[in-house]
């Protein structure tokens, strides 16, 4: 009997409390996706190359998963409390019929368990899909083509962790519902109908003033950002704090006063004011502003963060890649710091170890750097010297024009392009014959691998170079390791941004949706009056949808304006270094944000429309 009742109640929840299930499912999906990172292509690739960053990413994810779990737990408890409040009367009836409180608790227990099971399964299924999408996104960030690493994978470890965390949350929900039921008095449950909030008249003139003030605040904040540029505006506290403060206050004021401002505007236009149920819709909006404007401001800021983080981390990706090209011109560079005492014959060392340089290396070059001597070169502020033929060999390999300046001369900007990894020498370029008078300072051997399997070649090469460490100061740096470090940092930042961004987005959207649903239920009495007055069903549904749309779309609209200004400023920086070529990935991520947010909007609008129809 109980399971049948529970089953029926859950079926009803599907229809009436879609938002609750949606929140649970998205929560599970999010949690799984970010905990299954270790199986995703990008991480597998980094791990294969022995990059330590993989471990730190996983540790970070573990730590933040706890934070996310706490946020989700609070959200689910809030949603559950809200649902229970809605069902007070029903629960009261059970008690009145003679069920004892233990039995009612058991009923709720079963229901929560069932809902939990459904959302876990749906969430994990969605999570596997999301994890695939995420994998595609991160792989597309790499310079090289790694599409081979892309595969659908299911991580049992992440799934188990998700089940464990959410199991605990659901147990908590069950326990709390039980406590609430056992503490409730029957009389309160039976007369559980909630009262409408008391409305205070607020003159519209104040709203108009607040709105204008809000717009001025926002314009000031935009001006600071655009005039000083993003770098300065964020780095300098006396610019940063006023900008953020003005932006937040402006947003808050606009959400608080927009309804009044629109009302004032519409009142002057009887054609609009008295059309359909406009008066009703507007007044409903105004009367709810004081309960929703804070949530709307928070949602707006979270949307801004979500959009901003994604767009800039993807944009930054191109910038960093451009910089990486400068930092790592060759596949490998081995610097022999003890070059002044002993030189290494790399060719011999490799052949001795059974590594055929002719076959496995596409190119290699041994460069000598000399001590700069003022008496000979005539240049004072330099710590090293390189011959022009060596310089030309290195530049030509990178497809750059040979050196054409005067000799000897200080190398101004080319130092970065001589080695993979830092050279940390300020060099003078000298004619070859002048070098014979100088003393060798450092031996630098650079090479590019041949063939496809660069990772393997690198492992073999490093294996042979490693024994040299014992005798002298030798430092190898490879393009793959530099690249891996950079990608790791970038992925870490992106994942953390997305993880937290989505969690807060989810929380904010769910809170907004629950608020709207609760208001929709309060409105049923009003819709009943409208029906008696002869309003058509279609009109009432439209009005209900409009009210939800105002609550959901205004924060999104303002967030888009904010991020458009923010991106304009951010692009000014990004464009100076690199170019934004990840438009596709940005669009996909924006799309996912819209799907989550839009899903909440649709579920809420449908439920509220239904409430108006059945009033």
């Amino acid at each position: 009997m109980f399971s049948k009742l529970a089953l029926r109640n859950v079926r009803r929840s599907f229809r009436d409390y879609g938002v609750y299930l949606l929140t649970l499912t998205f929560g599970v999906c999010l949690f799984y996706t970010f905990n299954s990172l270790d199986g995703q292509g990008a991480m597998v690739f980094l791990a294969q190359n022995g990059n330590p960053i993989v471990d730190s990413i996983m540790i970070f994810m573990d730590i933040f998963s706890v934070v996310v779990a706490v946020v989700l737990a609070c959200l689910i408890l809030y949603a559950n409390r809200f649902l229970l409040r809605r069902r007070k009367r029903e629960l009261g009836t059970y008690l009145l019929l003679g069920l004892n409180q233990g039995q009612v608790s058991r009923l709720l227990f079963l229901e929560t368990g069932l809902i939990g099971l459904i959302s876990l399964i749906a969430g994990l299924a969605l999570g596997v899909a999301a994890s695939f999408g995420m994998s595609a996104l991160t792989l597309s960030m790499f310079e090289m083509d790694l599409s081979a690493m892309l595969a659908v994978n299911f991580s049992p470890r992440a799934a188990a962790k998700t089940v464990l965390y959410f199991g605990v949350i659901f147990l908590l929900v069950m326990a709390l519902s039980g406590v609430q039921v056992s503490r409730a008095k029957l009389i309160d449950l039976i007369h559980g109908e909630r009262k409408n909030e008391v409305l205070k008249p607020r003159p519209l003139g104040v709203a108009v003033f607040q709105f204008v003030l809000g717009v001025i605040c926002l314009l000031a904040a935009y001006a600071i950002l655009l005039v000083f540029g993003m770098a300065l505006a964020i780095a300098l506290p006396f610019l940063c704090f006023p900008m953020l403060g003005l932006g937040t206050v402006g947003t808050l004021l606009i959400f608080r006063s927009l309804s009044g401002f629109v009302m004032k505007f519409v009142q002057g236009r009887p054609g609009l004011y008295f059309k359909n149920l406009n008066v009703f819709t507007l007044r409903q909006w105004i009367s709810k502003v004081h309960t929703t404007y804070l949530a709307q401001t928070v949602v707006c800021i979270l949307l801004l963060l979500a959009i901003g983080i994604t767009a800039s981390s993807l944009g930054l990706n191109s910038t960093l890649s451009a910089m990486a090209g400068g930092e790592a011109p060759f596949d490998i560079t081995v610097q022999n710091q003890s070059g002044d005492t002993e030189l290494i014959d790399f060719d011999a060392v490799l052949r001795e170890g059974g590594f055929d340089p002719d076959e496995k290396l596409a190119w290699s070059h041994d460069t000598l750097f000399y001590y700069n001597e003022k008496e000979i070169t005539g240049i004072e502020d330099a710590s090293g010297a390189i011959t022009v033929s060596d310089l030309d060999a290195l530049l030509t390999r990178q497809g750059k024009p040979a050196y054409s300046g005067s000799l000897p001369a200080l190398l101004e900007t080319l130092e970065d392009q001589l080695t993979t990894g830092n050279l940390s020498l300020r060099c003078v370029v000298v004619p070859d014959e002048m070098a014979e008078q100088l003393e060798v300072r450092r031996q630098v051997w650079s090479a590019d691998y041949a063939g496809e399997n660069k990772g393997e070649t690198e492992q073999q090469l490093l294996q042979l170079v490693r024994p040299l460490y014992e005798k002298m100061s030798v430092r190898p740096e490879t393009r793959l390791s530099i690249y891996g470090d950079m990608m790791g940092n970038k992925i870490l930042a992106l994942f953390l941004g997305l993880y937290l961004g989505f969690t807060f987005l989810l929380a904010a959207a769910a809170v907004l949706a629950l608020q709207q649903l609760s208001q929709g239920a309060d409105n049923t009495g009003r819709y009943a009056i409208l029906r008696r007055l002869g309003a058509e069903e279609r009109q009432m549904k439209k009005s209900a949808t409009q009210q939800v749309a105002l609550a959901f779309l205004l924060p999104l609209a303002l967030a888009l304006v904010h991020s458009a200004v923010g991106m304009k400023a951010a692009n000014d920086i990004i464009f100076t270094v690199g170019k934004v070529d990840s438009a596709a990935s940005s669009l996909i991520t924006a799309g996912v944000i819209l799907v989550v947010y839009g899903g909440y909007f649709l579920a809420t609008a449908l439920a509220c429309g239904r409430m108006a129809k059945n009033a």
Partner: protein
């Protein structure tokens, strides 16, 4: 005079099979334009069911209701909503006004619902508010007004669309005697000066005494009809009390 409302042999049966409840068991009634008719009867006599059927909120099981030449029982969906908003006005005991709208907007809303031209709305709202003595509280919200003002505002909302028939369900039920008197006085004026046809359900003899005619229902049937003719209100009130006592007495005899 033309007949506004004709109810013929109206039946409403609740329940199925053996346990039938006859809420209305063959009620016939007709109202001429400009009449002010009260419906009285004890609880369970079918007054509210009658009003619900006439106001198209409920559907009768058998019989016909003709308002202004239109057969109600044949109307459906949107037609019904349209008929309701254009031909009927409602005054109820409670949950009358939309609490988020000002008095002015509450009255104007019923005009927007019948798609009255926007330029005329303001004038019509103010005229009706003057008439009902609530011109000074048009900018107030319902909770800022007294119960009597609220109910007069509801009356203004019901009348502003010039409906063929105004239906009032216990309009004075929640009011103190002074506010009741004021409201009834206004309804009377509306009836006399504007020629509004009003059908009012009440169980209060004093309220009923301001009608021109009172119909008594018992157990779903028409029990008696009283006409005020040229009686003073006091005399009419006495007659009504007499009938009410008789109805109660009849019940006592059975017991």
């Amino acid at each position: 005079m033309a007949e506004i409302l004709t109810v013929t042999d109206l039946k409403k049966v609740y329940g199925k099979g053996g346990s039938l409840t006859r809420a209305l068991d063959g009620v016939s009634l007709s109202l001429e334009a400009g009449e002010f008719v009260g419906v009285m009867g004890p609880s369970g006599s079918g007054k509210t069911t009658l009003l619900n059927c006439v106001s198209t909120i409920d559907r009768p099981s058998a019989g016909s209701i003709v308002i202004d030449g239109k057969e109600l029982t044949r109307l459906k969906g949107r037609e019904l909503a349209r008929f309701r908003r254009e031909r009927l006005g409602f005054i109820f005991q409670d949950c009358n006004l939309l609490d988020t709208l000002t008095a002015y907007e509450n009255i104007a809303l019923s005009l927007s619902i019948i798609r009255a031209p926007a330029q005329k709305i303001d004038r019509r709202v103010r005229e009706m508010a003057d008439f009902l003595g609530i011109a000074d509280c048009l900018d107030k919200y319902p909770y800022q007004m007294s119960g009597g003002q609220q109910q007069r505002c509801a009356a203004a909302r019901a009348m502003v669309t010039h409906p063929a028939l105004v239906l009032a369900d216990e309009p004075t039920g929640a009011l103190d005697s002074k506010s009741s008197q004021l409201l009834l006085d206004r309804l009377d004026v509306l009836n006399r000066d504007l020629g509004a046809t009003i059908l009012m359900v009440t169980h209060d003899a004093f309220t009923a005494s301001c009608c021109r005619r009172v119909v008594f229902l018992r157990d779903g049937r028409l029990f008696l009809e009283l006409h005020r003719e040229n009686d003073s209100r006091k005399a009419f009130f006495k007659k009504i009390i007499q009938v009410v006592t008789e109805m109660g007495g009849g019940m006592a005899d059975v017991l």
